[in-house]
């Protein structure tokens, strides 16, 4: 039954292009991309207990490398994707080495500082990154010769990648390694006493999360066909973190719901108010003060209570 339900749900995700307008299909693509990004951040925040405020680095690096390679150096999309993902993984490995010297708030501050450095570079190294103008005029890839120019085809492409990455991350956290990761989050000293290497477990998770952040970055740049330093900004990292916290960190469904909520809010709110950043700030205050556990655990608690009453 559970499998059937899962298949039905996944299949229903494939349906929107048959009845929805282009605007909503594009919105759905953006939600999926933001979900991958939030899920990858959740590996760190929820399952690893490492709150990063610099996750936009990996999205930004992958997006910028791909954009520059395809537009300026004439690389094909396949090679550019491989190279940009490799660059992202190398970057995550380096940043992990630095940031994991600290834990808790120190880790948060170092990830924030590192990502601000990248943001500053994207702005100031205008010879390479085109600075505040961003890199425009990009193309979408055509995997196996299938063009992705229409909203529907691009949506299905993103959906395929999103399902794949959701599965890969679900396997990651439910594996034996995932259990040891949760062990390191809750009881690092006991885990060390049992012979695990907490540092290595954290570092591998950090790099793995960076990789999926890079995947979402590629999709991000394919979708927008444009990249601007703001993709690397603290706002971008903070939106993802808000998605994770709002949805419920440490759950698999939470970041998806949270990312969808943040993106919908951003889209619909920006139609009425100009001040997205201010609204984002108030949502932060609201979530932390009123719903600290997040939407998904909150709803789970409600349904559990409901079921408890019936049985």
């Amino acid at each position: 039954m559970k499998w059937l339900a899962t298949i039905v749900i996944v299949a229903s995700f494939a349906l929107p292009p048959f009845f929805a307008g282009d605007f909503y299909i594009n919105l759905a693509s953006q939600i999926l991309i933001a979900s991958i990004f939030a899920l990858s951040l959740n590996l760190l925040v929820g399952f690893g207990g490492m709150t990063s405020l610099g996750h936009a680095s990996y999205l930004g690096i992958a997006a910028y490398v791909s954009a520059l390679l395809t537009s300026r150096y004439g690389f094909g999309h396949g090679a550019a994707a491989m190279l940009s993902l490799s660059a992202t993984v190398v970057m995550a490995a380096l940043f992990g080495l630095i940031a994991l010297r600290a834990s808790g708030l120190g880790f948060l501050m170092i990830t924030l500082a590192l990502s601000q450095v990248l943001w500053g570079l994207a702005y100031r190294m205008s010879g390479v990154t085109n600075g505040d103008n961003g890199v425009a005029g990009l193309t979408r890839p055509a995997p196996f010769g299938i063009p992705l120019e229409t909203p529907a085809s691009f949506y299905w492409f993103v959906l395929f990648i999103a399902v794949l990455s959701f599965l890969m991350m679900a396997i990651f956290v439910s594996s034996a390694f995932g259990s040891s990761l949760r062990g390191v989050r809750d009881q690092p000293r006991r885990m060390a006493a049992l012979g695990f290497n907490p540092w290595l477990i954290r570092w591998i998770t950090f790099v793995y999360a960076g990789f999926w952040g890079g995947i979402s970055g590629l999709l991000y740049v394919y979708y927008h066909k444009y990249i601007h330093p703001s993709a690397l900004s603290i706002t971008s990292s903070a939106e993802a973190l808000l998605g994770v916290i709002a949805g419920g960190s440490g759950t698999l469904g939470g970041p998806v719901v949270g990312a969808a909520v943040v993106l919908l809010l951003k889209n619909f709110a920006s139609a009425y108010v100009e001040r997205w950043n201010m609204l984002l700030g108030f949502v932060f205050l609201f979530i932390v003060l009123v719903m600290p556990a997040g939407i998904v655990p909150g709803v789970e608690k409600l349904t559990a209570r409901f079921r408890g009453k019936r049985s």
Partner: protein, 288 residues
């Protein structure tokens, strides 16, 4: 030679400014174990207040402005601590997120009030004339700024080491449970220190105004500098903030002058070095 001396002075004045910015951050972190991401926004608020005050009242003294703005921002910080942060005492992650949210609100409010163009803050008239020393010409205001930072360092040092309040703060930093047990109201100290840190940031924003001018994104420019300074110097350490500020001020100034595109990378090299070999920072203690 002229280049090195002028840039050297610029390094000192930026270092002084960074000390004014990061000392408050460091104080707050030391006592409250709270990474206050609103700090850059408090600084920016100070700069905007200064721009408005000094441009609308001709001949207003910048020192009085700094004092007034410092008190105003301190009051805002104190209120924020009382009304919001206090509820989240047991939730450090929540506190960080709330300060981040607050910084978004403040910076967007500034953008809404004062628009997207940068607003220059006038240099005080009696400090506009350059100073001649040993045959070189220096902008007087920058010299005065260095003096300010040193004065602030001395005052903060005396406050922490030589007064009753400072002794209570140090007790709270070392062992807040024990401090409570002997009758120190640590929660009142939290409000005071948060307000003090916010106030210093606001006053620093005023004093930095004539050099930086007020523009949207000033907070996002200053916050990472403060983070790098305190990570380098040791989080919660006043001497660490002092030394770290001048190191970062020097590296940033010469980096921007010599390799403008790479200044940001050069800036974080010392931080990586320190994290690799001395994770607690130059003057930091290992937090038990």
């Amino acid at each position: 030679m002229q280049f090195w001396i002028i840039q050297g002075l610029n390094s000192l004045s930026l270092g002084g400014l960074l000390f004014l910015l990061s000392s408050g951050f460091s104080l707050i972190f030391g006592l409250m174990r709270l990474a206050n991401l609103t700090h850059g926004a408090f600084f920016m608020l100070g700069t905007y207040f200064a721009a408005v005050a000094l441009r609308s009242f001709e001949g207003l003294n910048i020192w009085i402005t700094a004092l007034g703005v410092g008190v105003t921002v301190a009051a805002m910080g104190g209120l924020f601590e009382r009304l919001v942060l206090r509820r989240l005492r047991a939730n450090p992650l929540g506190q960080v997120l709330v300060t981040l949210g607050m910084s978004f609100i403040i910076s967007d409010a500034c953008l809404m009030m004062w628009g997207g163009d940068s607003i220059p803050v006038p240099t005080p008239r009696n400090l506009q004339a350059p100073t001649r020393l040993f045959g070189f010409v220096f902008p007087t205001y920058r010299l005065v700024l260095v003096g300010c930072a040193i004065a602030a360092a001395v005052v903060l040092y005396l406050l922490l080491e030589r007064t009753r309040l400072g002794a209570m703060i140090r007790a709270g930093v070392d062992d807040s449970q024990m401090a409570r047990a002997v009758g120190i109201r640590v929660s009142n100290l939290f409000t005071m220190v948060f307000a003090l840190g916010a106030g210093i940031a606001g006053a620093a924003g005023v004093l930095g105004g004539p050099i930086l001018s007020a523009y949207p994104g000033l907070d996002a420019d200053m916050l990472p500098l403060a983070l790098i300074v305190v990570i380098l110097g040791g989080i919660g350490s006043l001497p660490g903030a002092f030394v770290g500020s001048f190191i970062i001020g020097t590296i940033y100034t010469f980096g921007t002058a010599l390799f403008p595109e790479l200044a940001y990378i050069i800036l974080f090299l010392p931080m990586i070095f320190v994290i690799a070999f001395r994770p607690q920072g130059l003057f930091g203690r290992v937090i038990a």
